[in-house]
Amino acid sequence: MKQRIEKSVLTRRALLGTAASSLALAPLLPLLARAQSASGPPLRLVLMYQPHGIIRGATPYEAYSWLPKGDANSLTLSDTLSPLEAHKSRLTVIDGLDMTGGAYGAPEEGPHTRNTSHLWSGSPLDENSKLFSREQGGMQRYFGWGLGTSIDQTIAAQVGLTTPFRSIEAGVRTGSGSRPMNRMIYKAPGEPLSPEDNPKALFDRIFAGFMPTDPAAMDKVAAQRKSVLDNVAKDLTRLQGTVAVEDRPKVQAHLEALRAIEGRLNGFGLSCAPVAPAGVTDPEANDSMPMVSKLQFDVLAQALACGATNVASIQFDRNENSPTRFTWVLPGETRGHHEISHLDEGDGPDGVKSLAAIQKWYAAQLAYFLDRLAAIPEGNGTLLDSTLVLWGTEVAVGSTHSEQGVPFILAGATSRLKGGRFLQFTDNTRHARLLVSVANLFGLSSVQKYGTTDTGSGPMAVL
């Protein structure tokens, strides 16, 4: 499917070619106008998370290594990353970043759990909190939510204000309760954002109501919702004055969410014709994963193309302990990804081969998304030219839980980034350098440190 992004901003009303209805509608808010700087299309950011690290392909399993070969001027993809071959010139693969320090003062804290917060925020979980105890792992280890803001949200606070959605969080089989081990996006410290795992629900949330056959009916729905939400805001404001001081941030966050939703009640400049995804009976089912992955990427591509948002993320599986049996690439597999991820080259070919197959499948998912973005024309290029897809995982290698030597991939954003290269670090460069580089890329030039575990400063020089 190809969608052309028009330069001009169409209001829903104009798109529908309808006269003003009898209902008094609030004027379209300025923030609903599509951000379109004079210099070209806006830069977008999509985070993609894949659990449980990579296989590095120690002898004699070099053939199963995830790692590419190359240097600052060349890139030769491994078999695992070969699904990305068509996009090679748009890729920067990074290896060797240091992500230690996610659990200050408690080195034995679970690495999957702590890095779920640490990966994108550069900040640890709150270890002075008694809210959660680590799953099974130590009855007297308590912790709370992450203490940082994830990089996408920092950027969204700048570039997300001109779009109907500040950011959109998608998930693929993430469902296992809202817990620190399972939430990677933080709007603010202690404010995790939950992903939507159901493609149809995600699509409806973004687009439903903007393709009506009866514009007058849609206006009426918007007016009705506004009246109700105004009433909710009154209740929230009254409540804010009576709750304990510790509860006020909850009421405040609810009010902010309400205002954001009110702001998009009247639709937005829908400059394309989104296509609804097929319904998935049980998006959380094991075997639904390939279908849900495809559909979620379809929705996200359209959300970017249609100007619904400039910032998005997609979380695959749960970070703590993926139970997913990748039967579509490993027929008859009875083990979950996490179980297999504890195998490595020392355990013989079984685990290495299985992990390589899983990691190759993930590379194919990323490739599918890049394909989609590259198929959507924008300006003189495509949507991919102005979209940075940042891929990451919470540990370097599953079998060791190593937090050093962590890989990342930057894809797209070809208008701003050189591609076709492999950057290897052996000097304990912090992963925060990458987060700072990304912030700088999005115009946040004053950001020189990212997160509370950042021991260095400045962006990644080579980027």
Partner: protein, 582 residues
């Protein structure tokens, strides 16, 4: 019943791997239950001294201490830990919508996942995001649409007879206090009438005006949150009658107060522990308590993971999602039949060789239903094979792998969930590797080899030997007598516990040990406190409430109903503490 072992030799490597994965208990392997650990707050004592054990002399002592037992420093002081404003769980939201609007909807799938505190859903701390609020909008509209399909049931009056505006006002007077679980102020009534009026002046019909009012109630924070006024001073104070009515109702029914409870609050008749006791007794007799017992046991025992994880139909051709549902139904029905309809004893939960076995599970247990059996009727099981919760298919299946059993999983489950004493993770330097697979070994032989690895043995002595006690069951809960051609050896041992140390033979004997253990009683009590309060206990402020509940629990010979009745009378339940939880 004798059944061939389902443990195929090909799985040997997998089991070995998991034996290593279990070494860090939480991060490795498919962990059994979600986050069940002691809810007893952070330890007050600094007692990290390893406990002497009965483990072999060559093995270092287990790196964990029994759970801290709460004590009451000053019985005269009335205290309660801080209790942040909670938002309704998905279960509570759905029940409340149904009770308010007389519907039978399943709203949960429309809503964002709940925050989990310990093993239990409780929206305690993290705020809502736009996704939540979008979901609330859609769920409110869906519920309102359903209610309007039968508008005469919804309306407390005839708009033609009394006039539309009057009837709208009457609806607000009846729905509002239920939705907010307290009377509306005059200003609030005016505000909600304004929602109706705005709709009418915009050209809406009467029904549309009503629709707007109902949607507004369902999205109000006074509906979505359990709102309580904070104490005025620095001391914990009793919550108001309406607030304590909600606490009671959302604990025992996971829904809003009924008319009787609401009337008691209105008459200020809930200010004493005795009054709460009387209401709680009445509420536990209601069938609405059944769903709460089911919700507690599903989460505590982590059995609902069975539905999402499934089982290998190659190994278990009889497995279907419906069978998994039947396994859950059996366990929750069992808890209800013991706690609400039986003798209520904790020991019975762990030892009764009877269960309301659904017909689809009869063959799994190798039993037949009694003649003229009614649904939910207890079926006698072989007492040599089955004893209470831990030998039920749902529990055994939930704490096994997709195709195979694992002593590590079952051992960690018992240790963490039943004993509230999860093994600690290994030091970060330890990264043991599984020895190569040896076809033809029994599960026990494989894990014993793993156990002899000193780098794993130290923590695995806490779990594997407990898991060995379950060697007579396969991953779907069938009773088996042979493993890899050898007779099953189900001898196990507990080390490093408060009062359970020593050998045992098989899960039936283990269950009998657990049934009378102080450590298990403390654990279950703590889990119920967490479920009742929706928060972890505070080591200082909740100490006296825990001590009082412990005494009452003991006095009743460990009757779970009496435990719940004691919890609702406690200061922790009746009072609101000062400050926030972190």
């Amino acid at each position: 019943m004798v059944r061939a072992s389902a443990i195929a030799p090909k799985s040997a490597l997998f089991v070995l791997i998991l034996s290593v994965l279990g070494c860090s208990a939480g991060e490795h392997g498919n962990t059994p239950a979600p986050g069940t650990t002691s809810p007893m707050g952070a330890p007050t004592s600094t007692d990290t001294t390893p406990v002497a054990t009965t483990a072999s002399p060559s093995m270092p002592p287990p790196p964990t201490a029994p759970p801290t037992v709460f004590t009451c420093a000053d019985p005269a002081a009335h205290q309660a830990g801080p209790s942040p404003m909670r938002r309704l769980t998905r279960l509570q939201y759905g029940n409340s919508v149904n009770d308010l609007l007389k519907l039978k909807l399943d709203s949960a799938p429309l809503l964002t996942e709940d925050e989990k505190v310990g093993a239990f859903d409780s929206n305690l701390l993290s705020p809502v995001g736009e996704l939540h609020v979008d979901h609330y909008l859609k769920a409110a509209e869906a519920a309102t649409d359903s209610a309007l399909l039968n508008v005469t049931t919804l309306l407390p009056c005839d708009p033609i007879a009394v006039g539309e505006a009057t009837c709208a006002g009457t609806l607000i007077d009846t729905l509002g206090p239920k939705a907010f679980r307290r009377p509306l102020s005059v200003d609030e009534r005016t505000q909600y009438l304004g929602v109706y009026t705005e709709s009418r002046t915009s050209g809406g019909t009467f029904v549309e005006g009503i629709q707007q009012v109902v949607r507004a109630f369902l999205q109000s924070p006074y509906f979505l949150y359990l709102v309580e006024a904070p104490p005025a001073g620095a001391a914990a104070t009793a919550v108001s009658p309406y607030e304590v009515a909600s606490r009671l109702s959302y604990f025992l029914w996971n829904s809003m107060p009924d008319d009787t409870l609401f009337a008691a609050a209105a008459a200020n008749q809930l200010s004493t522990p005795e009054a709460l006791l009387a209401q709680a007794k009445r509420m536990l007799e209601s069938d609405k308590a059944t769903a709460t017992l089911a919700s507690f046991h599903k989460q505590w025992l982590g059995i609902d993971r069975l539905l999402s994880a499934g089982k290998d139909t190659q190994t278990f051709p009889e497995y279907t999602p419906e069978l998994a549902q039947a396994m859950l139904t059996e366990t929750t029905g069992f808890a209800d039949s013991v706690i609400r309809k039986g003798d209520g004893k904790l020991a019975t939960l762990f030892t009764l060789a009877q269960s309301p076995v659904p017909s689809s599970l009869l063959s799994l247990y190798g039993v037949q239903a009694p003649a003229n059996a009614t649904p939910g009727q207890l079926v006698a099981l072989n007492p040599a094979e089955r004893a209470g919760l831990l030998t039920q298919a749902g529990v055994l299946g939930a704490h096994s792998h997709f195709a195979d059993v694992s002593p590590v999983l079952t051992g960690v489950f018992v240790r963490a969930t039943i004993m509230c004493q999860a093994p600690p993770p290994p030091p970060p330097t330890v990264m043991a590797k599984p020895p190569a697979a040896k076809p033809g070994e029994t599960t026990r032989q494989r894990f014993d080899r793993h156990r002899t690895d000193p780098s794993c043995a130290n923590c695995h002595q806490l779990m594997d030997p407990i898991g060995y006690g379950f060697s007579n069951y396969d991953a779907l809960g069938h009773y088996v007598t042979m493993d890899a051609g050898a007779a099953v050896d189900a001898k196990g041992e507990i080390v490093g516990s408060l009062d359970l140390n020593g050998p045992f033979n098989g899960a039936v004997e283990l269950s009998q040990k657990l049934a009378t253990s102080t450590q298990v009683r403390e654990c279950v009590m703590g889990q119920w406190f967490l479920y009742a309060l929706g928060r972890n206990l505070d080591a200082q402020a909740d100490g006296c409430s825990v001590a009082a509940a412990r005494d009452a629990f003991a006095k009743s010979d460990y009757n779970v109903q009496d435990l719940l009745l004691s919890i609702v009378q406690s200061d922790s339940f009746r009072l609101r503490g000062v400050g926030g939880v972190k």
